[in-house]
């Protein structure tokens, strides 16, 4: 630039036409070129009926989980939800009477989904179990998107030795069957708190996200707009954060839905084996495990937590698949 500044003659080409062209391109880029971000209402309108039902169920479960947690941690059990750990037929020292609850009851106005083998309210236990699933899934997705997404986007963009090194580490972790590695890790934990279990599952979620992010980052790095950015001398760091990552993110978010479904099943299996969050905290998996001993008497106490778990997984798969298809279409139109 500085060399042309001092030049006595400006080159003799039709500068006015050139400038007009360039401004019109800029106007285009400002108004139509940018992909429009869909509002939540538009997203909702586009959903097929089944996906709408699935999304509604997910919102309901998340709401229920947060409500249950607020009840015990903020409102000290004063919100209208029963105590998940109260054995309603127990002797109450304060009143000097036994509770009126019965073990393994059917649904009633007091206990919407009945009671379990030691007369605890099943609905409240499912609500508190939802909190465990929600936290585990959220932490795993956060680990995956932040660590795995960043790492994958980076190595897909810079390639070279960094890529070889990081991807071979990823391959080693993926060389284990997922549940076996998780069991080995969990077996060395001394305290099985929700936080620790979430972190372990979160850590194990990173490799899969890294793979997805890398594949997308590779494809995007070869696109015209990245080449354009490179050719005008944009800093690589800036390309990574302004061009690559924003384009990897939608795919990664859609993947996170499907991955969360898997994480919830894995946590459920772990709880079922009695190796997840310690009792008396209810989880869907440990509720199923506790109720399975009584299936000769009553199957419903197995049905409720199983239905909650399966419907959540089914819904996450449905919504995730739908978002994946949607972002694939948008990606190809870019």
């Amino acid at each position: 630039m500085s060399t042309t500044d001092g030049a006595p003659h400006t080159p003799d080409f039709p500068s006015d036409r050139l400038s007009r062209v360039s401004t019109s391109v800029q106007i285009d880029a400002g108004t139509q070129g940018k992909p429009k971000r869909a509002t939540p209402r538009e997203v909702w309108r586009d959903m097929p009926v089944l996906v709408k039902i699935a999304a509604t169920w997910l919102v309901f479960i998340v709401g229920l989980a947060i409500y249950a947690k607020l009840d015990t941690s903020v409102f000290d059990g004063k919100l209208p939800l029963q105590d998940p750990n109260l054995q309603t037929n127990n002797f109450n020292a304060a009143t000097g009477e036994f509770g009126t609850g019965e073990p393994i009851e059917g649904p009633s106005a007091d206990h919407w989904l009945g009671t379990d083998a030691i007369a605890r309210d099943t609905f409240a236990r499912i609500a508190h179990g939802a909190w465990v699933s929600l936290i585990v899934a959220t932490v795993a997705a956060a680990f995956g998107i932040i660590v795995g997404g960043l790492m994958g986007s980076l190595v897909g963009f810079v390639r070279g030795k960094t890529e070889t090194f990081i991807m071979s580490m990823i391959d080693v972790i993926l060389a284990f069957p997922a549940l076996i590695l998780l069991l080995a890790l969990v077996s060395i934990l001394e305290v099985r708190s929700l936080a620790l279990i979430s972190v372990v599952i979160g850590f194990l979620s990173i490799p899969a996200y890294t793979r997805v992010a890398r594949a997308n980052s590779l494809a995007i790095s070869n696109r015209e707009f990245v080449m354009a950015a490179r050719s005008i001398g944009t800093l690589p760091r800036k390309i990574l954060f302004r061009e690559i990552i924003p384009n990897v993110l939608p795919t990664l978010l859609a993947y996170a839905m499907v991955a969360s479904a898997f994480v919830i099943v894995v946590e459920g299996s772990l709880s079922f084996l009695g190796l997840s969050v310690a009792l008396p905290q209810s989880t869907w998996g440990n509720m199923i495990n506790q109720a399975r001993g009584d299936i000769k008497v009553d199957i419903w106490q197995v049905v409720w937590p199983s239905a909650a778990l399966s419907m959540t997984v089914l819904s996450l798969n449905q919504v995730g698949d739908w978002f994946q298809k949607r972002s694939a279409v948008r990606g190809s139109a870019l």
Binding site: A175, F176, P177, L183, I295, S310
Partner: protein, 317 residues
């Protein structure tokens, strides 16, 4: 071709080193003294026993020395012995692997028997009601965890109908095939449902693509009937990707039977692993984990190589 195989084998060796190292370091970084974990919280301790354990585990050696020692032993089939049951771990694996392998094979077989017709119907009647119904069923099967399927199978066939025992395992060698099937059919079916969903989704999407090909049109114009075309012309190209996923899932099932084995009290590798975890029997956890991971890696490599050998497009490349 040769180069592909050699690189793949080199990578295999590298991965196996990494996998064994990772497993070894996991159980070596157990919080606290391993001797505590092994002896539990005993008040009186025989110093001779403690010294014996320390020596057995080589706890006074540096970490890398311990790893190399352990790996050398493992390569000769010596994984040490359980401190709780005193049984050789390699013997435990030898006893229990056939059970787990039988479950995995049965699960894959049941899954394939169901998945092939379901996948074909889905592709052939794409977007019409048979496809809608089977796809919904497949989605459902994919979303219900196998232990839930297992419990409902027990409820139906053991509690309500009283046809099958709800747990235990009869070995073919002890009681014959019929008795064995009574105990193995439910756990295998529970495992098969998820696999069925995965396989039939793959067959369906693969075949939808295949049915667009010109050679299908040519076969149709020759007047061949639809069933012949579907099974003889359209299914064949899908068999490659199907074989790959069957292989990988078989490897994964060797470790994935843990929950179902626990539910049905099947004396396989997974059930033993869970027992070992609850007893903190470290060497058994280590041995079984390493064994399952190694099998998994080996099977994946074999599948990969077979794929290279069979598919002419990759072979030439």
């Amino acid at each position: 071709m040769r180069k592909v195989i050699i690189t793949r084998l080199l990578r295999l060796v590298g991965t196996l080193f990494a996998v064994t190292f990772l497993t070894f370091s996991l159980t070596s970084f157990l919080p606290g003294d391993p001797v505590d974990a092994i002896l539990g919280v005993q008040s009186t301790r025989d110093p001779v026993v403690v010294a014996q354990i320390r020596d057995d585990l080589g706890l006074d050696d540096p970490f890398l020395v311990r790893y190399v020692d352990w790996l050398g032993d493992a390569l000769t089939g010596d994984l040490g012995q359980s401190y709780i049951t005193d049984q050789e771990i390699s013997q435990t694996i030898k006893d229990r692997l056939p059970v787990t392998a039988q479950l995995a094979v049965m699960a894959i077989a049941i899954a394939l028997i169901l998945a092939i017709p379901i996948g074909i119907i889905g592709a052939y009647k794409q977007s019409r009601w048979p496809d809608t119904v089977t796809s919904a069923g497949v989605q459902f099967a994919l979303s219900v965890p196998n232990f839930i399927t297992g419990i409902f199978l027990i409820w139906l066939f053991s509690v309500q109908l009283k046809w099958l025992p709800s747990s235990n395992w009869n070995r073919i060698s002890d009681k014959g095939l019929a008795e064995n099937l009574k105990t193995s059919i439910m756990p295998a079916t529970a495992l098969a449902m998820t696999q069925m969903a995965i396989f039939s989704r793959l067959i369906r999407s693969d075949m939808i693509a295949t049915l667009q090909e010109n050679y299908i049109l040519a076969a149709r114009s020759k007047g061949l009937n639809d069933r012949y075309i579907l099974f003889r012309h359209a299914l064949r190209p899908s068999s490659l990707s199907l074989m790959t996923i069957v292989g990988i899932n078989f490897g994964a099932l060797l470790g994935g039977t843990v929950v179902i084995e626990t539910l049905f009290a099947v004396p396989g590798l997974g059930f033993r692993l869970i027992n070992a975890i609850s007893q903190r029997d470290i060497l058994v956890i280590q041995g079984i984990t390493v064994f399952i991971a190694t099998m998994y890696v080996l099977i994946n490599t074999v599948v990969d190589l077979l794929y290279t050998v069979i598919d002419p497009r990759i072979r030439k490349g």
